[in-house]
């Protein structure tokens, strides 16, 4: 095999620009169509609850599979081999848990945000404020990670300056959400998921084509070039405690991601909510099964030297192997798919951030639920604009910063702040307002503090010699603490009025009677 010596990555090619413009034009066309169907809050936040299970399955996959999992995992496998595969499995295992514990109750009990469920029978004001704090911090940290990552990736792929990349992503994404709300966002996520699955499938087939469609021959080439150890577990799981804590964060963090949870309100009923997870898990699982082949293919065909020359982290492994196998047109296509991937995820995050600010804080707390339909849509759009501009500014402020810890932080806060309160409010009759508030606050600030004092921030970002807390991922401590605090505080502040309302909640939760 002759490794490719040169590449046109980083320069705008004709095909790259063509696919890029095609995606933007098509998605903006859909936004125009969706805008005419987005008049009420139900349409703006929940696409009128008219999304089918298959459509929501694709949209969930499109909301979840970020550029980091597409370009990042291919890169990790190309440079580290088998360890990249271990990493990929971790990103899938939350999905069955989401179906088993949260999907159906969420659909039956809520309206637009996960806070609807937590606040179902508790006192609105304190619970909404606490849930918005947990929700907004989760969405913000994930947005920062996505925006910084996308600025770097677009700069690498198209040669566009970082700041311009941020502004383009922000402007296109805002157009989707502001005018087309959840309907446009859903379709952008569906298109992105289809393009991504198609692109990676094609890439996998082209890679395998070079090895007579036999994975064994690909692994032989890898072992001969880089040694047998590349196909064996390496250093990724050096501490079991660390691995278990990370596993908990990945698994239950998914159950606390506001932009994912929000998607369950777009389907007509609990049955569709459940079925959509089946589809989403299938699509995402398929993606994580084949993406390592792309990574191994890049290492065998392009070579690690060129991959690391273009980007030290290996993020360009997939685009490089695409160029090697399909020339500049295929590179252009894959780059445009990566761009669509970024847009779809950021649009979902913006909608979730805006719904927490407008539905939970403005409508439920400030207006005590008395805002008119027209006012609610207006506030939702203002919140979208504020959140979108904020996202671009944060992207620019964090330019060049090491934000690798932000994704871990997002999942830790999601599983410690949002998930315990959400789950306890569904299954536990004696859960109280103060129990929910303290569980959320302890989960949020304990995971935040523990990450700041851990090696990932204290040493890698602040450049101190030694971390104050050795554990890189706090989930095992912070999630447990959030459950314990939620339990103890609820016992101390027992409330029989709240317990009585559990009857109405359960009829709606288990039978779907009275669900939106």
């Amino acid at each position: 095999m002759n490794p490719a010596a040169t590449t046109s990555i980083g320069t705008p090619t004709g095909s790259g620009v063509f696919f890029f413009i095609l995606i933007v034009v098509v998605t903006l066309g859909i936004t125009y169509w969706a805008a005419k169907r987005t008049k009420t809050t139900k349409e703006f936040y929940a696409a009128g609850r008219s999304v089918s299970a298959v459509q929501n399955g694709f949209a969930l996959a499109g909301d979840y599979m970020s550029a980091a999992s597409f370009l990042g995992i291919a890169g990790l496998v190309s440079l580290k081999g088998y360890d990249g595969m271990i990493y990929a499995t971790g990103w899938l295992v939350g999905w069955p848990a989401l179906m088993l514990l949260i999907a159906e109750p969420l659909r039956n009990l809520g309206k637009y945000t996960f806070a609807d469920v937590v606040a179902f029978r508790l006192r609105q004001t304190p619970v909404r404020i606490a849930a918005a704090i947990g929700g907004v911090i989760t969405v913000l940290t994930y947005t920062i990670a996505q925006m910084v990552g996308s600025g770097n990736l677009i700069k690498l792929l198209f040669g566009i300056p970082y700041e311009w990349a941020e502004i383009i992503v922000g402007a296109v994404m805002l157009a989707y959400v502001l005018f087309g709300g959840m309907i446009a966002t859903t379709w952008v996520q569906i298109i992105k998921a289809v393009l991504l699955l198609f692109g990676v499938t094609l890439l996998t087939l082209l890679v395998l084509g070079k090895f007579n469609f036999s994975p064994g021959e690909l692994y032989t080439a890898i072992a001969k070039q880089y040694g047998q150890a590349t196909l064996e577990p390496g250093v990724l799981v050096s501490s079991p405690l660390e691995a278990i804590s990370l596993g908990l964060a990945l698994m239950f963090g998914l159950l606390g991601l506001p932009h994912i949870l929000m998607r369950f309100y777009t389907v007509p009923d609990a049955k569709a909510a459940r079925t959509s997870v089946l589809y989403a898990t299938g699509f995402i699982g398929y993606f994580y099964c084949i993406i390592p082949i792309v990574g191994f293919g890049a290492a065998a065909l392009v070579g690690r030297d060129l991959i690391t020359k273009i980007d030290k982290g290996g993020n360009m492994a997939a685009p490089l192997v695409a160029e090697f196998l399909g020339g500049t047109p295929f590179l252009g296509f894959i780059s445009a798919v990566a761009f669509a991937t970024i847009l779809a995820v950021v649009a979902g995050l913006t909608l979730a951030g805006a719904s927490a600010l407008s539905h939970d804080i403005y409508v439920s707390v400030v207006k005590k639920g008395s805002a008119t339909e027209k006012e609610q849509v207006k506030v939702a759009k203002v919140a979208t604009l504020i959140f979108g501009v904020f996202a671009v500014l944060l992207g620019i402020v964090f330019k060049g910063q090491n934000v690798a810890f932000m994704v871990g932080l997002t999942f830790s806060i999601a599983c410690s702040a949002n998930f315990p309160a959400l789950f306890l409010s569904i299954v536990w009759k004696k859960f109280t307002t103060m129990g929910a508030v303290w569980s959320i606050l302890v989960g949020t600030f304990l995971s935040l503090t523990m990450i700041i004092l851990s090696p990932t921030v204290w040493v890698d970002v602040f450049k101190n010699k030694e971390a104050i807390i050795g554990l890189k991922n706090p989930a095992i401590v912070s999630m447990t603490a959030a459950f314990v605090v939620g339990y103890v505080v609820s016992i101390l502040t027992a409330d029989t009025e709240v317990e009585k309302k559990y009857v109405g909640q359960n009829v709606r939760n288990y039978l779907g009677v009275g669900a939106e």
């Binding site: 088993l100 064994g216 032989t220 196909l231 691995a243 288990y510």
Partner: protein, 98 residues
Amino acid sequence: MPKSAQEIIVSNEFRQLVKKRWSVSIVLLILLFVIYYGYILLIAYAKPFLAIKIGEYTTLGIPIGVAVIVLAWLLTVGYVYWANASYDPDVQKLKDQM
């Protein structure tokens, strides 16, 4: 005679329904833990096992990694199958009494 929500919720059928729903969830969740953490613990404590060659160079770890993903997906298939075949009809029976 239609029953009220209060009567439904204290009925034996409803209690059974809720109990069955969470039993199925918890059994499948335990399976998920066994599958995923089993894999992580193999990586931590049984590296040589995963390094066993099953082809000329291919290691056992590769199909096991793929199996973790496929089994996790099969759990969602299992739950949806159970819910469609057993849970939904039970819910309908209770709703008909209201």
